[in-house]
Symmetry: C2
Subunit: 382 residues, 2 copies
């Protein structure tokens, strides 16, 4: 059935494959791997639409990772059991196949997209480290009636580098998640010693990324802001219970002890080699633009962007939270206070960003959490 | 100069390359990538010895990652400035080259290995994401006088998948390091609230891996033991200062509060999705084989291996450390105590492993730290 390729054709094909393999291996960004893979697969086989499904072993399901072509968006949330449909069947058997007459196939579960008609399907398992990690599917050749044996052969070759790139990107993303989850869990556990600030770290992280996003930070810097905000109060581990838990205002001596948390937090973070870039955010989040802050009395340009951002987020949360000796301010009162102290305590740019978000009615935990979630998905992609 | 390949030869060559590319992409284990790469490179070009150098951007140096061939071990610690020697020159220029008469080359810095004579050198830069990440070097063809243009061409092709695999493995290793460094820094910061246990976590980690290694745990389980030991006392974050810092023995009520740290620690760890496997080690490190421990009174088979190991490590350290109200035991006394309580408090297998290490004179911090270090290198390799 398959036509015999000449050696020259094979050389061309292999050169293309080697090049694609290099491109796929050139990133651990999951999204980039997937996008690139579908683009190349469609190009390679002239297909109308394509998709990659990933195996979720825990739930014994397949879920769409990425779809290209008409009606793609409708499919994003689709999940199917590991043994259902044509994709499920290929994922279970580990054997690639072509289905020419889809509607006659007993495994066919119906058209998932409105206005799209599936005629011919080519489905290839993605196997890495001896396991099926996903499935690549191409729908409807653009220039022929159905896929041919030759398409199948090429997609089998193509599946190798793709499967490995996918598996590597997934492992990397898992390791990044693990790191962020662990820092968050430990930082929040440390915060819990303070009986008056429940959820403070989480809110400061959310507010800080809202501000960072509004200012237009690049992804990397936004990630640093997020991490520095998560760690900004870890130095409170060194503040004694009697000061943390004092129901009244702190006296001068107690306040001096409390202030040590900024430098102590930086000291802890400095033990983590690859997190040195977070030091300014942790050490200087209580500095003021006019030099009246602590621990170093930095002012103006000496005060970096991350602590300026965390400073506004931290103060807003402190102002709007009740303390035993005073009630928290309303959001409007706190917003007015940030505006009033723009240029003296706060960086005018950050205060202006705060004002814009606040006036849109978006400076709250819900908006921050939504942003954090979309950020987590993006940050997995590096 | 280079002979023209036939299409059939090219097909063969590309097939080999595609296969090697898949093998290299099939792991994020740095050591596996390097070993595989040198094996294939020597096979591909019939070379007597080969090495991979990696760029250390921070120090502007090249260091040996792996050497194969005669006298390889002598070279392991070699580091050279980024602009010195033939490897340095290729790393700087990013251009592959062959040196036929090594001794006549002004960049030649002399034979680094005793009893090895370098005649011909083929050096290829490893370029990933637009940067030179390392250099691959082949020495002395086994079947000819010198390397030829054709070897150079092939090694250039080979350098692509290798460079990417190397860069990916390095990124993954960095991410794993970052995670371990961060967990350690935060766990040690939490421990510092206890004024009487300075360095306890670090010692328990070291002792636990000594025991785990002696018992013959697989690498994965050993890594779990290490992490669980690092986190075993994080629950102490919930113990008030007055109890942690009490200079005398705790009364019953204080002891009950102190005991909560095991369950509290497990609660914190349970917030980290991918670390659920560490829960037994954290929650149950104060259980006893006879069921007399806490928090759950587990006994026998219900008590898993990790908490059994941490239990011995933790108790040994507690016994040999001074407290305000008692002096620590000597190592011999503590060892006798572990033997005496084998089967009642301690798992007999772990106690026996302890005894073997102790009798060899190796149950101490120095031996534990050496093991941790070699483990860190190995653990980077996954």
């Amino acid at each position: 059935m398959s036509k015999q390729l000449t050696s020259e054709q094979k050389v061309d094909e292999y050169e293309t494959l080697l090049e694609i393999g290099l491109e796929l291996a050139g990133t651990l960004d999951l999204h980039q791997v997937l996008t690139l893979a579908l683009e190349k697969a469609e190009e390679f086989c002239h297909a109308e639409s394509s998709s990659i499904w990933e195996v979720d072993e825990e739930h014994r399901e397949l879920f769409f990772r990425l779809v290209r072509g008409k009606g793609a968006v409708e499919l994003e949330a689709l999940r199917i059991p590991l043994d259902q449909g044509i994709v499920g069947s290929v994922a279970s058997s580990g054997v690639a196949e072509i289905v020419h007459d889809v509607k006659a196939d007993p495994r066919w579960t119906g058209e998932p997209r409105e206005g799209f008609e599936t005629r011919s399907i080519l489905t290839v398992p993605l196997i890495a480290r001896g396991k099926v990690v996903g499935v690549l599917q191409l729908l409807n050749p653009t220039d022929r009636d159905g896929f041919a044996e030759d398409d199948l052969r090429r997609m089998r070759l193509f599946a190798g580098p793709l499967a490995h790139a996918l598996a590597n990107a997934r492992l990397y993303a898992q390791q990044k998640d693990l790191f962020l989850d662990t820092v968050t869990a430990l930082a929040e556990a440390i915060e819990k010693r303070d009986p008056y600030t429940g959820g403070h770290v989480h809110r400061v992280v959310a507010y800080s990324v809202l501000l960072g996003m509004e200012i237009g930070l690049e992804r990397d810097e936004l990630e640093s802001v997020r991490l520095a905000a998560t760690l900004h109060d870890v130095g409170k581990i060194g503040v004694p219970d009697r000061i943390l838990g004092k129901p009244g205002r702190l006296d001068d001596e107690e306040f001096r002890v409390m202030q040590r948390h900024a430098a102590d937090g930086a000291e802890i973070v400095s033990n983590i080699r690859s997190l040195r870039h977070l030091l300014p955010g942790v050490r200087s989040h209580h500095e003021r633009m006019d030099g009246g802050g602590y621990p170093d009395g930095l002012s103006g340009d000496a005060l970096q962007r991350t602590p300026r951002i965390i400073g506004v987020a931290d103060t807003y949360d402190a102002m709007t939270t009740d303390r035993p000796y005073r009630q928290g301010l309303s959001a409007d009162q706190a917003a007015a206070e940030i505006e009033r102290c723009s240029g003296s305590q706060f960086c005018p740019d950050v205060a202006a960003a705060f004002r814009r978000i606040y006036l849109r009615g978006e400076f709250d935990l819900a908006h921050g959490e939504a942003l954090l979630e979309s950020l987590s998905e993006q940050l997995q992609r590096e």
